[in-house]
């Protein structure tokens, strides 16, 4: 009974985090982008600085008509948003937020592989959406999504493997237990590569080629309306939360901090995740979109060699300090 209650409570907490954190990131994006561009952003919904803007957006989306194009493959078209969104919920289960086994949804033996594998599945949702819409722009968006995933999955995996080598375990909890502060300079190349590749996998600017609005309208999501479209947007922001959380756990030491590691570890995790999320928004405002060939070139000629060099460095240091 107690075990069942414990599991239910964990699932509930993860679910609440899954529903609220992406919205917080979205609202922050509204406000941060606005202020960086000399605007105020949403100011009316909810009264205080437009805090309820995304709730209002959600209500608007829910009221819209759910249109499925006549030529579309109905079932796959309708299934795609769920396939895009649910993997991120599963990934959140495995991210440890504090020390000990009490602060993670589910302790997994091969946590690193689990999160990367399941995040890759989320991209299938975009592919399904792009194909099933029966729209040229959508198909092009789907193609670009697939090309981008294939290019950026590899550096992500290699840099994650570098951390796993350093810690001697592929469990996320185990990696955090083994973390030392000097891993930060040691794995800094890997951290940058992981973060950049993760941004590309989420199709965030400057890697938002698959949804480039000036070329292919909105890529794979062009034909979507109402709630299903909102689910795709939610998947993008859930992806930001997951990517920032993962980068925090793998490279920035998660709950480790200069002080207060015992009771306040979760504050450190949240703080680092929030700073990274801010950087994601910042990059969106700062950089123009890369061209498709530049995108591929960046991955294959820069990120992959860098991550291989990081693995070599990790191996050498690991042998030397043994």
């Amino acid at each position: 009974m107690n075990d069942a209650l414990d599991v239910a409570l964990r699932l509930l907490v993860v679910f609440v985090v899954f529903l609220t954190f992406p919205l917080i990131v979205g609202q922050t994006e509204h406000k941060v982008m606005a202020h960086m561009q000399g605007r105020l952003g949403p100011m009316y919904a909810g009264g205080f600085h437009g805090w309820a803007q995304l709730i209002a957006d959600g209500v608007k989306f829910a009221q819209k008509e759910d249109v499925v194009p006549a030529g579309a493959d109905r079932r796959i078209f309708q299934l795609a948003p769920a396939v895009a969104l649910l993997p991120y919920l599963l990934v959140l289960l495995a991210i440890p937020i504090g020390p000990g086994e009490g602060a993670v949804g589910q302790v997994l033996d091969a946590g690193v592989f689990f999160v990367l594998a399941v995040m890759g599945v989320g991209v299938l949702g975009s592919l399904m959406a792009g194909w099933a819409s029966a729209n040229k722009f959508s198909l092009l968006g789907g193609l670009r999504t697939a090309a981008q995933l294939l290019a950026y999955e590899l550096p992500m995996l290699l840099t994650a493997a570098s951390v796993a080598m350093a810690a001697g375990t592929v469990s996320l909890v185990g990696i955090l237990d083994a973390f030392e502060w000097w891993w930060l300079p040691w794995q800094i190349t890997g951290a940058l590569v992981f973060f950049v590749a993760g941004l590309a996998e989420l199709q965030r600017p400057p890697f938002d080629m698959p949804v480039a609005d000036s070329e292919i309208i909105f890529g794979a999501y062009t034909e979507y309306t109402g709630l299903r479209f909102a689910l795709f947007l939610l998947a993008e922001y859930a992806g930001i939360v997951v990517l920032c959380g993962l980068t925090t756990v793998l490279f920035l030491g998660g709950w480790h901090g200069p002080w207060g590691a015992d009771g306040l570890g979760w504050v450190w995790t949240l703080l680092k995740t929030a700073v990274l999320a801010f950087v994601v928004i910042w990059l969106r405002v700062t950089y123009p979109r890369l061209r498709e060939d530049q995108l591929q070139k960046l991955s294959w000629t820069l990120l992959v060699p860098l991550s291989l060099a990081q693995i070599a460095l990790t191996g050498i240091v690991k042998v030397v300090i043994r």
């Binding site: 594998a117 599945v121 299938l124 792009g130 193609l143 697939a146 995933l149 375990t169």
Partner: protein, 210 residues
């Protein structure tokens, strides 16, 4: 890969508890294993029989995912996630990419049928029969103890892979490397040909091949 994984998992346990197990009183895990296996088989059959190309690729996702669940039920967690990562995350995405790049009509493709279907059926049935026979014969009396220490955890898998199976592992690595180099050579050669004879037909061919 799959056979080696099963062999690894089974080899690592080396349980000799046969005899205490029967087929008539299945445990919950065994029932789940059987049900997931049926779903996987069904998805695999639909994959090769459906007339809709992209649906076939998506049913393949179900089949491969079902296989990952089977690994999980056998406590081979590492193998399960690698299965999802490599097959669902990369191979199927590559397949879909190829389909979308060439032809992926919505609805049925009448030309997506082969005159070799009966030969293909015979070959696949023969291959399946051989595999089932060999696996059953090899692991008839081997049972995996699901309640004890996980027999397929990352640590156990790694140790067994790099102690007992290190030679096949290295041989496979060399094979993959050879395939990689071969692919690069082929693509470079095609590009050189296209540059030598810049006709539109050749160029389109090479771009399709790429």
């Amino acid at each position: 890969m799959t056979l080696a994984a099963v062999a690894t998992a089974a080899h690592a346990t080396t349980t000799t508890a046969a005899g205490t197990h029967g087929f008539l009183s299945p445990t919950g895990v065994e029932i789940a294993f059987l049900l997931v296996g049926l779903v996987t088989l069904g998805a695999a059959v639909i994959t090769v029989t459906t007339r809709q190309l992209v649906h076939a690729a998506l049913w393949l996702v179900v089949a491969l995912g079902g296989l990952a669940v089977e690994y999980l039920l056998l406590t081979a967690e590492f193998i399960a996630w690698v299965q999802v990562l490599i097959y669902v995350g990369s191979v199927v995405v590559l397949l879909l990419f190829g389909l979308m790049l060439t032809r992926a009509p919505i609805g049925r493709s009448p030309d997506a049928d082969s005159g070799n279907r009966w030969v293909a059926l015979a070959v696949s049935v023969a291959a399946a029969a051989a595999l089932v026979w060999v696996v059953v014969d090899a692991f008839r009396t081997t049972w995996i103890d699901l309640d004890g220490a996980p027999a397929g955890s990352t640590e156990v898998t790694g140790a067994s892979l790099f102690q007992h199976w290190v030679l096949p592992f290295e041989a496979l690595s060399v094979l993959l490397l050879a395939a990689l180099v071969g692919a690069i050579v082929l693509s470079r050669k095609a590009k050189a040909d296209a540059a030598a004879t810049p006709t539109t037909g050749t160029r389109r061919d090479t771009e399709g091949a790429r």
